[in-house]
Symmetry: D2
Subunit: 306 residues, 4 copies
C-alpha cells in the first residue's frame, strides 16, 4: 500500500457518546466510583489499524462492523490494542489487590506514603454478608439472616473506628506516613488512574465480569463493560458479547461424550444449508454460506465426528 493510497486521518478519532461520559462519575459499592478520564480511538481506529495490516487485501470485508466481528472471532487481537482508555477508579484496597494483578496496564495509585490515607472504608450493610460456598472453595453463596448481619455490621464499624483512631494517633504524633498506614484495614479505599488498551481491557472484563469473579470486582467490571465500553466501541462490545461472553467452549473429552451419546440430533445434517438460515448466514438466494456460517458448519462436522 503506497502512501498515496493511504486514507487520510487528519483529526483525532472522537466518539461523541464517550465525550458525554467525560464528566460522569459511576458510583460502585458504597463509596467507590469509576470515571473516564480520557480515551484514544474507537471502533474506527480498530478498523483503521486492521486495514494497515491487511492492506488492500481486505476490500471484500469492507464494512466496519463485519471487519471487527471477523477480527474478534479469529483472535486477531493486535488491532484491539490500538484503542486506549484511561479511567479514574476508587475502590477498596482488597479489591485493588486483585485488580492490579492485570499487569499490562499503566497505573498511578494514590500514595499513602506521600499523603494521609483516605478515611473511607468499605462498609457492609446487614443484608450483604455472604456465606461461604460449599462447592466452590473460592466462592460465596447466599446471605446471612438479617439479625446476624446486623451483628457483623456493628463489629465492622467498631473495627473501622479503632483502626482509624490508631492511624490518627500515629499521624498526629508525627509518625512517618509510610509506617502509620501499616495497620489500615484492607477495606480502606484507594484511588488510581488506570490506563489500558482495549484488548487487555476485554481480557480483564472476560475474567472479572465472570460469575466466578468476586462480587466486588464484578461490580466494577460490569460498570466498565456495560456503561463505558458499550458506548465507546459499540461494534466491539457487540462482538465481544457474541464471541466471548456468550460463547461456550466444548473440550475434547466433552466432544467425545457428545458423539458417544448421540447428543447431536441424528436427523440433523451439517450439509443441509437450511440449518444456517438464522443470523442471515445464507447468501446468494440460499445457495451459499457466509464466512461465519462456514465456520459453524465446520464445527458441527467436527462435533458430529466427521
Amino acid at each position: 500500500m503506497s502512501e498515496k493510497e493511504m486514507p487520510e486521518y487528519v483529526t483525532r478519532v472522537s466518539v461523541p457518546e464517550m465525550d458525554e461520559l467525560l464528566d460522569k462519575t459511576f458510583p460502585v459499592l458504597d463509596n467507590g466510583f469509576v470515571r473516564v478520564v480520557d480515551y484514544m480511538g474507537g471502533d474506527s481506529s480498530i478498523v483503521q489499524a486492521a486495514r494497515v495490516s491487511y492492506g488492500t487485501g481486505t476490500k471484500i470485508v469492507n464494512e466496519d462492523r463485519g471487519l471487527i466481528r471477523y477480527l474478534m472471532r479469529h483472535r486477531h487481537t493486535t488491532p484491539f490494542e490500538m484503542a486506549e482508555i484511561k479511567l479514574h477508579v476508587r475502590t477498596p484496597m482488597d479489591n485493588w489487590r486483585q485488580w492490579i494483578r492485570h499487569r499490562t496496564a499503566n497505573v498511578n495509585e494514590y500514595s499513602t506514603r506521600y499523603s494521609i490515607a483516605i478515611e473511607d472504608k468499605q462498609k457492609t450493610a446487614p443484608e450483604e454478608w455472604r456465606m461461604q460456598s460449599e462447592n466452590n472453595k473460592q466462592g460465596s453463596e447466599g446471605f446471612f439472616p438479617l439479625e446476624q448481619g446486623r451483628y457483623f455490621s456493628e463489629r465492622e464499624t467498631e473495627l473501622h473506628n479503632i483502626a482509624q483512631e490508631v492511624y490518627n494517633e500515629r499521624i498526629e504524633a508525627g509518625m512517618a506516613r509510610e509506617q502509620a498506614r501499616k495497620d489500615l484495614p484492607l477495606s480502606t479505599y484507594t484511588e488510581a488512574y488506570w490506563k489500558i488498551d482495549l484488548h487487555n481491557l476485554l481480557h480483564f472484563l472476560s475474567l472479572r465480569m465472570d460469575s466466578h469473579a468476586q462480587f466486588e470486582i464484578r461490580q466494577y467490571a460490569t460498570i466498565i463493560g456495560e456503561e463505558i465500553v458499550s458506548k465507546w466501541v459499540p461494534y466491539v462490545w457487540e462482538a465481544f458479547n457474541d464471541y466471548v461472553l456468550n460463547a461456550v467452549t466444548l473440550t475434547g473429552p466433552e466432544i467425545e461424550i457428545l458423539r458417544e451419546n448421540q447428543i447431536l440430533n441424528p436427523n440433523f445434517d451439517p450439509e443441509n444449508l437450511e440449518h444456517y438460515r438464522g443470523q442471515g448466514w445464507l447468501i446468494n438466494k440460499g445457495t451459499e454460506l457466509r464466512g461465519e456460517g462456514k465456520e459453524f458448519q465446520d464445527k458441527l462436522r467436527k462435533l458430529r465426528g466427521k
Copy 2:
C-alpha cells in the same frame, strides 16, 4: 499456610526426559533447528505454585494431574508461568519476523551488525511451491506442478547467488556490516536464544500450531509442542490438547441457531447422568458427577436453552 506446613523443596526440579533432550538438535525446514538449552521446573512446579496460591484449600483436588487439568480448564494461568524454557532456534528471517511478534519472551538474536551474516538461505524444493488460496487471503492451497516448481527453484537459487555475491563484495571491500546486510533476502537464516514461560509458550503454540498459521512456523511450533513440551510437562501437554487444541468454541449466534434448529437431540436430557459415564465422570456408583462432568452438564443445559 504457615511456614512449617510448607513442603520442602531442597533440590531443583529436574525432568529426566528433558535432560535427555539437552544434547539433541531437532532439524526443521531445510536448514533450521530447535534445541533445548535449559529449562526451569516441570509439571510438579505448576502444582507447587498452585498450592502456594490455594493453600490447604486444595486438599480435595490433591493429585497432580487432576490439579493441572483443573487449572487449565479454568484459565488459572499464573501457575503455568512458573515453568520456563530456553530454546536455541535457527530459522529464516521471514519466519523470525512472525515469531518475534510474541512479545512476552526473552530474546538474543544473532547480530549481523557484529558478525558476518549466516550464509544459508531457506531453499525450496520443486515440489514445495504453494499456490495462493482463493478463499483465504492469508493462506496457501495446493502445490505447483513439478515442472513449474523446477523453474521457481532455479530462479530462487539464482537470486540467492547474486544476493550472496553482492553481500560478499561489500564485506570484502570493508563496508560496515550493518549496511552490507541491507539487501539480504528474508530467506536468510538467523539464530536466536528464545526464553519463555510455559503459559506464554502454550499461547504461542495454540496460535502457531493452528492450521491457519503459515506452514513454516507451524513446523517449528509442532516440533516444540510434540517433541519437547510433551516430554517436559506431560500432564500439561495432555490438558492443553484436551482443553485447548481439541476444543470447539460455539459462539452466541451459533448457539442460537443450534437451539432454533434443534440440532441437539430432542431425546437427550441433560439431567440424565448416564450421558456422562464416559471419561469416568460418574462417581459414587453412578449417583454423582465429578467437577468436570458438572461443568459439561451446565454447558449442555445452556446449549439446550435452559
Copy 3:
C-alpha cells in the same frame, strides 16, 4: 484525597501544537516517513497522574514544569506512562527488525501474507556507503570514495531489480503471497501503526537517538524526538534532554580514579553555596539551596570522597 477535592477534567486533553502535526508527514531516509495518527494526553496529564499518586502532599512542588522535572530526575516513571502516542511509520524491514525489539508497544504491521509487498526498497546514494569501524564491532566510520560508491549503488539496483522480478513472476503465476515474499531483500519498505506510552517511547529514544545506534534508526528516532515529542510534551522533552540525553554517568571505578588523581579542583568546597548559583539553584537571598541544588551538592560530596 476525597472525590470533591479532585480537580475536574471534563474534556480530553488536547495539545494544539500536536493537532497541527496530525496532517503532516515527516520524510525519513529515501522513501520512509513518520506521522502522528493520534495521541492521548500531554504535559498536563503527567502532572494530573502524579497528583493522584502524591495527593495533597505535592502542594509545595506545585507548578507543572517543576513537578515534571522532579519526576524525571527521580525515576518516578509511572506518570509518564499516562500519555500515549500512535505513529504511522514507513521503514525498511531491516530497520523494522531493530524497532520491533522494543516489546512494550502495540503494533499493526502491513502484512505481506494478505497483500502484495510494497515495491519500494531503500536505495543508497553513491556517497552514502559506509565503512566498517575498526574500533567498534557494531559501528561504521567514514564513507567510501564516490567512484566505489557508484559501483555499490549500481549493484544494489541490479539486485533490487532481479529480486522484484522474481517476486512479480511468483505472484503472477499465482503463488501464495506468504511464500512469494520469502526472498524479498531486507531493504524492502514496510509500514506499521506503532502505539506506545511516553515512558517507553523515551526509553526507545534514549537508546535509538544515541550515537551508537545504527544510522537508519537514528534518523527515525531523531525525527520522533525533535519534531514530535518536543511539541507534544515540551516540559517532558526539556527534562529528558537535561536529565537523560545530556547526562554523564560516572561509574564506581571512575569515581575512584577521580579521587585518586584529584581530578576535582582541590580549591573547590562542596559546602560553598556560591558554586550552585547557576541555574537559579540558590534561593532565599542565597542562603539556601533548592532541591535540585541539594542533590548536586550530595553528588559532589560523594565524588570528592566525603
Copy 4:
C-alpha cells in the same frame, strides 16, 4: 555462526553456591522470609547468550568477566534476561503492595479467597517507630522515644487482636472467606512465589535497595541482592555494584555548573594517560587505554567542556 561452530551445552547450567542456598531460609522483618526455590542459568548463561548475539565478533572481549562488565556498562540488557530465579517470599501485605508494582514477573500469591488468612501480622518493637521526615514527603527520619514507642506497640497489639477476633468470628460463623478478609490489617503476612529474570530483578534491586525505598522493602531487596544474587551471578553482581549502585549521574544542568565554577581541577588534562593508571586501565606499557579507560576519558572531556 554455523551450527558446527556452536559451543555444545549438553547439561543445564548449575551454580554450586546457589544449590547450597536451596534449603536456606533468610529471615526478614519479624516474621517474613525469602528463600530460593529454583533458578535457571548463571554468569555463564549471560555470556553464552551474548555470544549468540555477537557471534565471532566478540573474540576480543573473550573472558567472561570482561564481557559481562561490558554488557552492563553499555546497557546491553537482553543477555541478562537469560537467567531466571524463583523465590518464595513471606511479607506483609502493605509491603507486597509495593512489590507487586514490578510488572515483569510471574507471581503466585497465597489466596485468602481459598484459604484461611495467615495469622501473623508484622509487629513493631517499641524502638522501631519512625518519625515523618520533614524534607522528604515520602520518607522517615529518626525514631520515637522508647516510652512513646511502647505506647504505639501496645496499641498495635490491641488493634491486631481485635482485627483477628473479628476475622475469626466471621470464619467460624461460615462467612465467605473472600468477604471475611475485608478488614484484615495491611500488616497481615502473605506469601508468594515470585519468578523474575535477572535483568528485571536488577532493576527491582536498583530501586528497592536505594536509600529512598521504604525501610521494609529495602530489607528484602538487600537480602536478595547481597545474600542471593551475589552468590548466584558473582560477576554480574560486581558489575552491578560498580556500574549501577555506586555510579553517580551528573545531569546536563549540573555539568554546566561544574564547568562554570571550574570544579574540575584546572591542572588536570584528560589527554594525560597517567590519570587512568588506576583500575589497570593502562595497557601496552602505559601507551594505550583499555575500552573502559577510553570511555572515562570521553566523559572527562565532556565534563571539561571539550
